[in-house]
Each structure stands twice: as C-alpha cells, then as structure tokens.
C-alpha cells in the first residue's frame, strides 16, 4: 500500500534529520514492515494458525568516531530512539579503522513473487494436511507434523550519505516431519525447504520425509570403529556451521578462527569449492542489496580448497581491509553484523549411487544432534547421529543405526578424508545452501 510505503519513508527521513540536528557525523535508519501467516501441524492435526504484522526502525549513528545503535517499534517515538542511539555512542570505543556509510547505488526494488504472495492460508492448511495424510499411515504409532508459512517484507534503508534504498520481497517455507516413539527409542524424520519463489517442492518434501520413515522401519546397531560416512546435504549443512564461523570477519579479526592469516592457503580438500552469492536469484538469502545498502554480488569463499574471502560488513571490512557487502541484521532491532549470503558448493563428478557403494560397511548420516556443543573454533565436533543408516553391499541401505555418535574435525573430514562429492546437489532446509552429498573416510563412530 502506498500509504504504508510513505510512512516508512517518512520515518527514515525523520530519523536521519533528527540525528543530523543532534550532531551525528553519520546516521543510518533501517525500517522494516512485514506480514506473515503460518500453519502448524503437530501430532497429526492442525494445531494452530499464526498471523503476524510487524514494523519497527533501527537507528545507527556515528559520532566522534563511535558507533551507537537503538531501535523501537513505537513509531511515534522515533526521536527518542535517535537520542538513545546517540547516548550509546558516547560510550563505545572510537573505531580504529573508521568506515563510511555507502552513498551511491540507491535501489528501489520489488522482487516479491506474486505467486508466493497469492498463497492463501487455506492453501497452507491444505499442504500441511497432505503431509499428515501421507506420513501417518506409514507406521503404527507414527505422529506426523508439518509447517507451512508465507511472509512479505519491505526493507527500507536510508543514510546520511544520501543512500535511499528499498526492497519488497516474499518468501515461504514448508516442512514435513514424522516422529515415532517406541519403548525408549525415538525416531525423527524431517524434510522441507524455503524459497522466495513458488518453486518449492512440497510433494518432494513429503516424499523425502516418507522415504526416511520407510528406511527406518528396520533398526540395528553398529560396532564402534572407523568407517566411511556419506553425509547428506542436510548433514553437510550442519557440519558447515564450523566454516560459517571460521570465515566470518569477527572471528578472523579477533584471531579466534582457525583460518586467521590463512587467506590464499589450502585449508580444505581441492575437491571443495564454495561460492557465496547474495543476489536475488541465488537463493532465499538474496536481495538486490545487503542490509547496509551495499549492492549484492557473488564471491568465492573456498576455491579448490583454498580460502579466498572473508565474510564482512562495513565495519569489519574497514578493520580487515577486505570487501564489505555481507551486512546482515536479524530484524529492525538488530545492529548490522557480518553474515553469509547463499552458499553453493560445487558438485562432484561421482553419481550419488556410486558414492554410496564406495561406502559399503559405513554410514549414511542425515542429521546430527548436539553439534552446537562442539568446539567450533577448532572444527572439532562430537555429536549424536539423529538419523543415520548402515550401508551394505552395492550402497544398499540396510537399517537405521540406533544410539550411535560421531566425532572428528571439520578440517580433517573435509580435507584429507574427503573422498568424493556427489554430482547431485540439493537445497538445504533453509533455502540458502545448495550442496552435494559428501563421502568421507575413516570417521570415528562410537
């Protein structure tokens, strides 16, 4: 609605004007408004429908070389928030490497997919119902769940250097979940995705969760030892948490990343290449500009195992003398921080079927539990296998492996121990990672 857009634009101007009057050297206002609807199925039934409308503004100021930030959802008090931001900027450190808010490249974009916007609550309800109807009969005592949601958000950024950008975008997501408790054993099978466009494969996600259930009907145990492991794209996404942390500018700047000082060095297997792309066409984390107003672009993070680029926002780009463009926020109430765009890992050349047969006697791992307790700074991890399968002759899946854990180091696993990547890739559940499956040798299973 035009009036809504005008409200947002007016608030941004009012905030910038007030900051100027109060003596801020630079100021930036970040306004968002969004509406969303989601449906939630739990335990075989529709548990509820949730609608939300949200708006608010975040204000960042630079005064005397110091950064301050404040936010509010009380939109008739934007001036209070500007004052609060300046108050905080009295106390923070003077930036040793000052940065300037971007002046050029104002963009007004509407990349919202009308087909996504048109998804009705009734349709979301129907998608979830399909999941439940198809999953529930697969096994006795199986509890099916699903979630489907659609959101439309407008972001507006203005700054004292003259930038005025806005973007309206849609997104939606769907997942299907089957859960079964037997004795003291619990099975969770999950599949789903998220996208800005209508292309999300609801039927495929339901089938994916169903297939995991079918494969899990037979259970068994594996003896402790070192075995080959195939990580599905979903499990690989969980492992990549290590790398997200390691290539993030704050970890490099503070030397808490194992990749500190290693730009240009071989840090992972030569088979491994990852590109970060935050343009709209590259995945759900895409937009014409990042959340500091820098135009979107693609760059390699790892090229044939060589560490190429650090993920940085304006502030850390200045500190490390690297390129900005990965400023992120978690809503209007969040100051910018460095955050990756969409990650695409280059596929391998081996068909998945072949990778599986190479892993005979090993494990197919689809989900890991407890990764966040691992020492991500070093890449060491130890986690329970949430959903994993024993691989037999010819890559045949034999049974679901119960009560097993896995341990290792990310850089070893995707370094010397990486034997191959599948030619097939798929999107991770978040819609921001396009990944193959990975075969690793000699993984410790306990």
């Amino acid at each position: 609605m035009a009036t809504e857009a005008a409200i947002g634009a007016d608030l941004v101007e009012a905030a910038l004007e007030h900051a100027r009057r109060l003596g801020a050297d630079q100021a930036e206002a970040f306004y968002t408004e969004s509406t969303s609807d989601s449906v939630d199925y739990e335990n075989n039934r529709l548990a509820g429908i949730d609608s939300s409308s949200s708006r608010g503004i975040g204000i960042r100021v630079l005064a005397g070389g110091r950064v301050g930030f404040s936010s509010t959802s009380i939109l008739d008090r934007v001036e209070d928030a500007v004052e609060a931001a300046l108050q905080t900027a009295r106390l923070t450190e003077v930036e040793k490497r000052p940065f300037s808010l971007p002046a050029g490249g104002s963009i007004d974009a509407d990349i919202s997919d009308r087909e996504v916007e048109a998804i009705s609550v009734g349709e979301l309800v129907e998608m979830g119902r399909q999941a439940v109807d198809r999953l529930q009969p697969l096994a006795d005592g199986l509890l099916a769940g699903a979630g489907a949601g659609r959101a439309v958000a407008t972001v507006r950024i203005g700054n004292s250097a003259g930038l005025r950008s806005s973007c309206r975008r849609s997104s939606w997501s769907f997942f299907a979940l089957a859960q079964r408790v037997q004795g003291t054993s619990v099975l969770w099978c999950y599949d789903g995705g998220a996208s800005m466009h209508r292309d999300l494969d609801v039927d495929g996600a339901i089938e994916g969760a169903s297939e995991k259930v079918r494969l899990s009907l037979k259970e068994g145990r594996l003896e402790t030892g070192r075995r080959p492991v195939v990580f599905t794209p979903a499990a690989l996404a969980a492992l990549l948490a290590s790398l997200y942390g390691a290539v993030s500018a704050p970890a490099i700047y503070r030397k808490t990343s194992p990749l500190t000082g290693r730009l240009g060095e071989q840090v992972l297997s030569p088979m491994l290449s990852i590109e970060d792309d935050n343009r709209p066409e590259a995945g759900r984390a895409g937009a014409p500009f990042d959340e500091e107003g820098v135009a979107a672009f693609a760059f390699p993070i790892v090229e044939h195992g060589v560490f190429r680029n650090v993920v940085a926002d304006l502030r850390f780009a200045a500190r490390l003398d690297v390129a900005p463009g990965r400023g992120r926020r978690s809503g209007y109430a969040s100051a910018p921080f460095p955050g990756a765009g969409n990650w695409a890992m280059a596929p391998g050349t081996t068909p998945l079927e072949e990778l599986m047969s190479e892993a005979e006697g090993g494990l197919l791992v689809d989900s890991l539990l407890g990764m966040h307790g691992s020492n991500l700074a070093n890449g060491d991890f130890s986690a329970n296998i949430g959903l994993g399968f024993a691989i037999g002759a010819g890559g045949e899946i034999q049974f679901r492996v119960k009560d097993a854990a896995i341990a290792g180091n990310f850089y070893e696993l995707l370094g010397d121990r990486l034997l191959g990547l599948s030619a097939e890739r798929r999107w991770g559940y978040s819609g921001t990672e396009l990944l193959p499956s990975a075969l690793c040798a000699d993984v410790a299973i306990t």
């Binding site: 039934r45 529709l46 548990a47 509820g48 429908i49 949730d50 609608s51 939300s52 409308s53 949200s54 708006r55 608010g56 930030f69 404040s70 936010s71 509010t72 959802s73 009380i74 939109l75 008090r77 209070d80 609060a84 931001a85 108050q87 905080t88 106390l91 923070t92 450190e93 309800v125 005592g141 079964r180 408790v181 003291t184 054993s185 619990v186 503070r254 030397k255 808490t256 194992p258 109430a333 100051a335 539990l369 407890g370 990764m371 966040h372 307790g373 691992s374 020492n375 700074a377 070093n378 060491d380 130890s382 986690a383 329970n384 009560d403 854990a405 341990a407 290792g408 410790a444 306990t446």
Partner: protein, 464 residues
C-alpha cells in the same frame, strides 16, 4: 527511558474481550511494553551498546477447540487483530482443545527489585562489565582475548481474557557473562562464566573469583588432553546436573510433548519408575531472584511448584491450560512466551534436583577411574538421547579429581542414565546462568537451575 502506558489500555482490552466473547470459546489479549539494554566487549573494546524500546501485543482465540493467533505492534490494531484471530481459529475447523478451568484473576504485580536496571546509568552498566572483562585481559598468557556481555530487559505486561481476567505484571531479567579465549597448540580454547537475576541488576553472582576461575580453567585447557572415548563413571557438578535435569527430564515433562503422543504417554505414566529411589526433580516459579521466578504465567495462572519426580517415580508434569485440559490434570503455571510475538507454550521456570544423602566426599569415594564433569557448554536432547558438552572435566583416579581434560562430550539414553545414578549429594546448589532455553522457535527464555553433585555409572564419552 520510561514509556507512558496507553491511559485507557486496561479498559480497552477488557472491552474487546467483552465484545467478542460470544464469537469464540475463549479470547485473550496480551500487550507488552519493554525497554532493554545490551552491550558487549570484544577484547578491551566496548564493541556494541544497544538500547531498545518495544510495544506490541497478541491475541489468542479459541473456536470449536482450535486456536488462532495474531501479533502486531500497533495498538490501534487490537480490535482488528482480535477479529482476525477468531477468523483463523474458525478456519482451522475444529480441534480437541479444552482449557482446564482456572479462576479469573484481577491483580497487579509490580516489580520487586533489589536493584532496578533503570536505576543504573548506561555508564554504570558499561563499567561493571568493563571491570570483569579487564580481569580476563590482565590474566596474561596463554589467554589472548576476552568477550563479555551484559543485557537487561524490563517489561510491563497486560493480560485480559474473555473469562474476566485482568492482570498487569512488571518483570525484569538481567544477565551478564564473560569468556576467556586462549590459543595453544594450534587450538583455541574458550571458557566462560555467566549469571543472571530477575531482581538484581547489580548481579552479585558476577564476582572476581568466578571470572578468575574461568581464566584458570581456560589456561589449563590449552595443555589438556582429550579423554579416550568409552564408558566412564562420571560425577557431574551442580551446574551440569542442573542443565541435565532441564534438558533431559524437564523437556520430557512438558505435557505438550505427551498429551497427543501415545507412546510418550506410556513412558511418562504417572507412577512410572524413571529413576533411582532417591531422585527428586521439580520445577518452580517460587525461587526469589531466579531468572525463572514467576508470579503468574502468560495465561494468568499462579506459578507454584510442580513436582516431577519423587522417590524415583514420575509424579507430575508441566502444564498449560490446554495440556492440563487434555490430560484431566491441573494447570501448573508453566505457559510462557518470550514476547508478544509468540503464543504461550509449556515451558520450564526454575528446574531443580532435590538433595540426596551422600556427602560430597562420598560422591567421589570409590571411583577407581572416572571423570568429574563441570558446567555445561550446551547440550541437546531428542527425547531418548542426550548430548552434553562439559565446560571442563577432570580425570578421577581413586576417588580424587586430577588431570584436566578438554572437549568432553557426554552422550546417552536419558531413561537408562536416570537409573544409573549411584549417588546424590546432600545439598542442592542453585545456579543462574545467562542465555536461556529454546523451544518452538522461542529463545532465549529465562530459566533457572539447581542441583546437587551426581555420580552416574556407564556414561558414554565421545572422542576420537
């Protein structure tokens, strides 16, 4: 900064509830206003300092046993959003929800603060943390850097429902933490300490000694070895035991996991023998100053003590009005939401393991070779299985904790582990940590912990 309340707010909410009462079985409206401050140090630098103000509300409507929920942050929208919630509940098309009856309440609960965060200036908050942060930086080698944070939030919450409840509550939550980082032998080691309170912004738990302890342990970790993978007899300290009670038993006791899940219902049958006879676990809103302290929950139910395990047997569970209605039990005041953006769901408050009968010495006595695991660096459960990372661990030889070990991850089956408890210390130590609990996309929710030392046999320790 104080935000003036909408002068007619209480009357407005009551009016909307009255007007729409006949169109639904139940309607509730919450409005929340909050101010918060957070700051963080990275090394010696105050890296961020943010102040927030927020105002918003939500409506939950029940029609033919099904829920609709809307949230918003323009108070003028409350009528429209209430109607939308009812329309959605209709769209769900019927459900099994039957709320357990509770008395309507009309009450005002002002905050009872020892030190109000609003009384402290921004400078006070910054300097308090700077002083603790400086201790880490002054420690010297091998500690190379630090991170420290402080966060507070003061909220005013109005609740009105179609049964006549009109409730106004003030709440506060304050937390702070420090972490020491050390580089050694190509690895980065990190140890942290955090604390929190619902009443005292001076955070008396944040002491120099606690910070120094974290530094010493971080120092030690740079030289420490990993344990050999395998099964060990393990002693877990009150902090780790508290997290275990929360993650492994508390979440299983949340009745929303149980009421529509026949298998879980079978395992979690009242009277089932889940642990050793000495085991007692409860969840309470009554610990003064705890981050889990609560007078009324988000549904206006008084938040008392809920016994979960007594004499090793399951004696109760945690309820909202919905889950209590479904199971024919009594609401326990455990319906909580992190903010007006979310509907209340069954959550813990402060979860405690009661004291046993062993002295501290007896807990360790007779362990030939085991592990003493101290504090938690996070954990995860999926009902049956748990994984926890200890902050640090010490190798126990002949009953004496000695060599420091790093990267100790405990995994196991919850039900087996509760029966493998061999000794429970005779005193429960409360612990209040920063961060909070996550569930159903709602995180972090402030909660409290408390436990004695526990000795457990046959715990699986991960490793290479």
């Amino acid at each position: 900064m104080a935000i003036a309340a909408h002068p007619d707010l209480e009357q407005d909410l009551a009016r909307v509830c009255r007007e729409l009462k006949d169109r639904c079985e139940y309607l509730e409206i919450r409005v929340e206003e909050a101010e918060s401050t957070d700051l963080s140090f990275q090394g010696p630098d105050l890296e961020s300092l943010n102040q927030r103000q927020e105002r918003g509300g939500d409506v939950r409507a029940l029609v033919a046993g099904a829920w609709g929920f809307t949230s918003f942050n323009r108070l003028d929208d409350v009528d429209e959003m209430a109607r939308a919630a009812i329309a959605q509940a209709r769209l769900v098309g019927g459900g099994p929800v039957k709320l357990a009856p509770v008395p309507a309440v009309a009450d005002r609960v002002p905050r009872a603060l020892v030190v109000d965060p609003a009384e402290l200036s921004l400078d006070d908050k910054v300097e308090r943390v700077r002083a603790m942060n400086a201790i880490v930086l002054a420690y010297g080698k091998p500690i190379t850097t630090s991170t420290s944070y402080y966060a507070d939030r003061r909220a005013r919450i109005w609740l009105a429902n179609s049964e006549g409840t009109g409730l106004y509550q003030e709440r506060a939550d304050i937390q702070a933490g420090i972490a020491a980082l050390a580089a050694g032998e190509g690895r980065v080691q990190r140890r942290s300490f955090s604390t929190g309170s619902s009443t005292d912004a001076s955070l008396p738990g944040l002491t120099e000694e606690a910070v120094l302890d974290a530094c010493r342990q971080c120092d030690g970790l740079t030289q420490a070895a990993k344990p050999k993978a395998g099964e060990y007899t393990v002693v877990i300290d009150p902090k780790l035991a508290g997290v275990f009670a929360h993650e492994a038993v508390g979440h299983l006791s949340e009745a929303d996991h149980i009421h529509e899940n026949p298998r879980m219902r079978e395992i979690m049958t009242i009277g089932a023998e889940l642990g050793v006879p000495e085991l007692e676990i409860y969840d309470t809103g009554l610990v003064p100053g705890s981050r889990g302290a609560l007078r009324y929950d988000e549904e206006g139910v008084l938040a008392g003590r809920a016994d979960l395990i007594r004499g090793g047997r399951l004696v109760g569970r945690l309820h909202s009005r919905e889950t209590a209605g479904a199971l024919g039990e009594t609401p326990t005041g455990n319906a909580r939401a992190i903010s007006y953006r979310f509907p209340p769901i069954v959550r813990m408050r402060s979860t405690y393991i009661g004291p046993g009968s062993a002295t501290r010495e007896e807990v360790f006595k007779g362990i030939k070779r085991g592990l003493y695991c101290v504090e938690s660096q996070g954990g995860q459960t999926n009902m049956e299985m748990f994984t926890f990372s200890a902050g640090v661990a010490f190798l126990i030889e002949d009953g004496e904790p000695g060599e420091l070990l790093r990267d100790v991850t405990l995994t196991g089956n919850t039900f087996k582990t509760l029966k493998d408890i061999e000794a429970i210390e005779d005193v429960t130590t409360p612990s209040e940590a920063g961060g909070g609990c996550g569930k159903g996309g709602q995180a972090p929710l402030p909660v409290g912990f408390g436990a004695p030392h526990l000795r457990i046999r046959e715990v699986r320790i991960g490793g290479d």
